[in-house]
């Protein structure tokens, strides 16, 4: 046998060996398509006209592409406005939450001070406080502070949620950084603040990315708080609340609603596709710690 033939049979054997895996993969791809079917349906529905929505059933490919659905969702159903509200709320909340969790995680991990143990204990005790429990006092105090019915008040309330896991992620990360690094910075004449911002925070970039991505998605998808905060100010709705309101107001415009859904969901899905790694890391952190 020539060397070439050996290579060829070898390759064939390897292909044969891998065949069951490919069959399994194809089977799983089939399931995965079913899995994301609701999104595919929504996408196709957003391009059908309202008549075809009723008669088309499960068929995905629209017979004519009706782009007008998007302009209806954007203008008539105010999703342009809702999208801006959501983007502003989400970005500001991400900045606030990331900074406050980074600084808190840092001092809790690196310094022992009176109350540090208690502080951590209280944080862990509130790990799972549900919004349904805190919502009434949150609304009441927001009214007293004249923060209800405003985007700013909603942002503050969203940033004030527990976010314990974010603090714990920073805590765990800053804990395992060796002392020498900090001491070297101090020898170089860096003060408390400089040490944090020019040495420690840059080191924690992976955690920052994870916390930012997780907070982004949590805030973008938040529903309970934005719902309650915008009862009397429809112009401040976020996309999730807007979608719920859409059903009540124009119950017949299904394809417009599907278009609104696509507008609302695409930003998070795109973000997820590009920053998937950080997202997965953040979630698996809960199990590892």
């Amino acid at each position: 046998m020539t060397a070439q033939a050996v290579v060829r049979t070898d390759r064939r054997r390897r292909l044969l060996h891998r065949a069951p895996w490919w069959i399994a993969a194809l089977f799983l791809v089939g399931i995965a398509v079913l899995w994301i079917f609701p999104f595919l349906w929504m996408l196709s529905a957003s391009l059908k006209d309202n008549m075809e929505m009723f008669t088309g059933g499960l068929k995905l490919w629209p017979s004519t592409f009706v782009w007008d659905n998007y302009s209806r969702a954007w203008n008539d159903a105010h999703f342009g406005r809702y999208l801006i509200n959501t983007v502003v709320t989400t970005l500001v909340t991400v900045v606030i939450v990331t900074i406050r969790c980074a600084t808190a995680g840092y001092v809790l991990a690196r310094y022992r001070f009176r109350g540090s143990k208690l502080f951590l204990g209280v944080l862990i005790a509130t790990l799972f406080v549900p919004t349904g429990y805190t919502i009434i006092p949150v609304v009441k105090i927001s009214m007293q502070l004249h923060l209800i019915d405003s985007l700013g008040g909603m942002i503050l309330a969203l940033s004030g949620g527990a976010y314990v896991s974010a603090i714990l992620l920073y805590y765990g990360y800053f804990r395992q950084i060796p002392r020498e690094l900090e001491e070297a910075a101090v020898v170089d004449g860096a003060g408390f603040v400089r040490t944090f911002f020019s040495v420690m925070l840059p080191l924690a970039m992976p955690v920052t990315a994870t916390v930012a991505v997780l907070t982004f998605i949590t805030t973008w998808n938040a529903f309970f708080l934005p719902l309650v905060f915008t009862f009397s100010r429809p112009d401040l709705r976020t996309v999730s609340v807007g979608m719920q309101a859409f059903v009540g107001e124009t119950a017949t415009d299904w394809s417009g609603m599907a278009a609104a859904g696509v507008i609302s969901i695409v930003p998070v899905v795109v973000l997820f596709i590009f920053l998937q790694r950080y997202f997965v890391e953040g979630i698996s952190g809960a199990v590892k710690s």
């Binding site: 600084t103 349904g132 429990y133 529903f223």
Partner: protein, 301 residues
């Protein structure tokens, strides 16, 4: 260090904590405590005054059959959802963990996508997909010769349907938990066992299962806790209906506090406090579970 620099440092420590102390204090800690006070007053609307009434709100809540209904729905929903989420995800995670599987990244992403999408929007869209008159599922069923099924309008079907959708929506989270757990098992262990002649079943029984046991506790309790946060899906999907058959406690609270023509915030707060205690009890179980898990893992080393 001199006492001045220590004091200087302490000042900075607290400045670093201020944003968290203020925001988390006002919007998480204060509400937890204030709920107890609010549960003891009669208070009909955020603008009106509060009158101390002792425990009568609690008596009213305990006497309300609809509260016990929502309590039952919440627990029953948990029982429906948790085993499916924990066990089915383990199966998928084991498949998606095998290094020989092609397209693994793509598959993982596909199964994860529902997690990142907005729950409230999923609820609304699913209502259309499941619409008995003209939704695509019904149309397809009718074409196949079946009658249309009112998944969300039927009182026996609504909760199981919501449970299936919930499992679908959050499947990816538990799958990632399991993948993280599986990745703690060194691959060499499997290879060594296979050289020794172990079959797939034996590998699973003697390596995978024992190595995963400590994680099972943690993952189960994390999943249980997550099922308490289900307002978004239930509210947009069924709003608690048909006739309170899917009214979880969070919707019960919402109904008394925000959806009633005369809000009864004291009554809602009492229900919220009981709900908070329920979550706390399960949370305490969790801490105990994590502790037990740690000890189990420690024993094996």
């Amino acid at each position: 260090m001199t006492s001045r620099s220590v004091r200087f440092r302490t000042t900075w420590i607290w400045i670093f904590l201020v944003p968290t102390v203020v925001l988390y204090g006002v919007y998480t800690i204060y509400p937890i405590i204030a709920s107890y006070w609010y549960s003891l007053v009669e208070w009909n609307g955020f603008d009106s005054g509060q009158k101390f009434v002792g425990l009568s709100n609690y008596r009213a809540v305990f006497a309300d059959p609809l509260f016990w209904n929502s309590f039952k729905v919440t627990l029953f929903f948990m029982l429906l959802v948790v085993p499916a989420r924990v066990l089915l995800t383990l199966l998928l995670a084991m498949v998606l963990n095998s290094p020989k599987l092609p397209l693994i990244g793509l598959l993982r992403s596909a199964f994860f996508i529902p997690v990142v999408t907005t729950t409230a929007i999923i609820g609304v869209v699913m209502r259309f997909i499941l619409d008995p008159a003209s939704g695509p599922i019904s149309t397809a069923l009718m074409k196949l010769g079946f009658g249309g099924v009112d998944f969300l309008g039927d009182q026996h079907l609504a909760l199981p349907t919501a449970a299936v959708l919930y499992v679908w929506k959050f499947f990816g989270v538990t799958m990632i938990y399991w993948l993280a757990a599986l990745q703690t098992i060194p691959y060499e262990l499997y290879e060594a066992a296979r050289i020794d002649g172990a079959g797939t079943g034996q590998l699973f029984r003697h390596i995978t299962l024992p190595m995963l046991k400590p994680f099972l506790i943690i993952i189960t309790v994390l999943t249980v806790e997550e099922t308490f946060h289900n307002f978004d899906l239930m509210y947009t999907l069924t709003g608690g209906g048909p006739y309170f058959h899917t009214e979880i406690i969070e919707i019960y609270i919402y109904r008394w506090a925000f959806a009633a023509s005369i809000p009864q915030l004291g009554h809602a707060s009492a229900a919220a406090v009981i709900f908070g205690l329920l979550v706390a009890v399960v949370g305490a179980l969790q801490l105990w579970g994590v502790y037990a898990g740690r000890r189990l893992r420690g024993d094996q080393r």
